[in-house]
Amino acid sequence: MSDTKTVQIPLGSQHIALLEPVAFTFQTQNERIIAVDADVGFVHRGVERACASTFTFDQVATVVARVCGLCAITHSTSYVLAVEELLGVSMTPRIAYLRMLMVELDRIHSHMLCLAHTAENAGFEALFMQIMHEREIVMRLQESITGNRVQFDYVTIGGVNRDIDAMVAAHVDSELSRLREKIEHLYGLFDTNITLSRRYQGIGVLSLEDAMKLNALGPIARASGLAIDVRSQTSTFPYHEVGYAIQTHTAGDIDARNRVRLAEIFNSIEMSQNIVRNIPEGEIIQKVRGKPNGQAIVRIEAPRGEIFYLVRGSGNKILDRVRIKTPTFSTIPAMIRTFEGSMYADAPAILASFDPCMSCTAK
């Protein structure tokens, strides 16, 4: 009997597998998803509007950090870089290194959270706990460098807020070595554990053509074999000096995404260690004068892909426009494409592997 009844299954806006409110409506036929509708606007707050009406330009860095708690540092760094470009300031090597260090540490903890979440959604609670335990190493490092665990308003216009001394640098170095051993163990687990491989291999495949056509970004695109990374395309930060290497995979399934994330964690650990070992001397803050006049565009690689800032000012204290384009926003078409044709039972795991950040998307 060819019964092709279509069943509608809603997921969200409040659901245990979701960290954030987002509502999906799946059209399924015999457990197979044939169409998806995503509603992402639950957390829209109106940050862009407020940045161009309520707050003065030197306050905005704090506000845009609250667009997203996971990549707060990338948001404030991008904004500050845009304003510094308008004010005609360029970073000294020490400032660039310190900012780069925080961006990389942020990437490590964000990727680890995503891996933990993927493990939890696959029903692997013990692994979730293990990864969360190891993630604390990075959180403590962030606290020791900036003074706060999550919303560290570390970057200001002209420089950074805190310096690191030799003791903290040595501490960061040794803790990161400890973390690398743990991640190596984790990599072995993702490599050999039969539960994980059964659950992840060949599930949620995004092909290279789709990734290209639908404008996927970040680790998702790199897992499908699309070698895009803002870190290698721009020269805002001296990434080539600290041993940056692009990480790609070809399979495009959940397993590939996990592996790309793990490889990027390794790379980020290596870069952070190189940064704290060879940090140049200098001041951590520069004198800045004037008001932003003109238009500047900045792109930075956030943990989830390219983040894009457009800042336009006309010599006033209050800016004319702040436009934020976040990676998850661009990845939604690819995510919907991946859902189509996969089983409904895999939906939470696929969703977690895309690591969506709705608060970035809706702003």
Binding site: G69, L113, Q130, V150
Partner: protein, 179 residues
């Protein structure tokens, strides 16, 4: 019911709802549930079902679209319930205060028992707030049982409430009470 109460008091389940937060608070909740801070040692488990939950843990400044869900979830949680507002923006709107799509804190919609300050609050603070919430929760469960205790416990005759005996016990206990 005494033997049952011992357990009921010890394992409150939380319902976490993100009412437009920046995720900073949410990842701190996850960190607190992880092994390093181990919120679970208080019996606190994160369950996505409002009907099984006791503590309503809200993050975010309440956006225009999430306010209906917030109230809906709040009404679905059975009594006694405790509402914990995590983070500066849940308490007052924080950095988002005055933005056009933000309702400036959750106490415009539902009553709050514990406010946890900070942006983002550290897991230690969250644990502190949870311990406070547990106290309030125990108190609230006692208060719910108060009418029963006033009547000196429930008396039943053949499956029916024996109101007469209960009223008599009440009168006797009042006589005994030293004024």
């Amino acid at each position: 019911m005494k033997w049952f109460r011992q357990w009921a008091q010890k394992s409150p389940w939380i319902l976490h709802y993100n009412a437009g937060s920046c995720n900073g608070c949410d990842i701190e909740i996850l960190a607190a549930l992880g092994p390093d801070y181990d919120l679970e040692r208080f019996g606190v488990l994160n369950r996505g079902n409002p009907k099984q939950s006791d503590i309503f843990l809200v993050t975010g400044p309440v956006t225009y679209r999430s306010r209906e869900r917030l109230v809906e979830l709040y009404t679905q949680i059975p009594e006694p319930k405790v509402v914990v507002a995590m983070g500066a923006c849940t308490a007052t709107g924080g950095v988002f205060r005055g933005m056009y799509n933000v309702e400036d804190g959750i106490d415009t919609y539902i009553p709050v028992d514990v406010y946890i300050p900070g942006c983002a609050p550290s897991p230690q603070l969250l644990i502190d707030g949870m311990a406070k919430a547990l106290e309030i929760w125990v108190q609230k469960s006692r208060d719910i049982e108060k009418p029963h205790r006033l009547f000196g416990g429930i008396r039943k005759t053949l499956h029916y409430l024996d109101r007469r005996t209960m009223a008599q016990t009440l009168a006797q206990s009042k006589e005994k009470e030293p004024q």
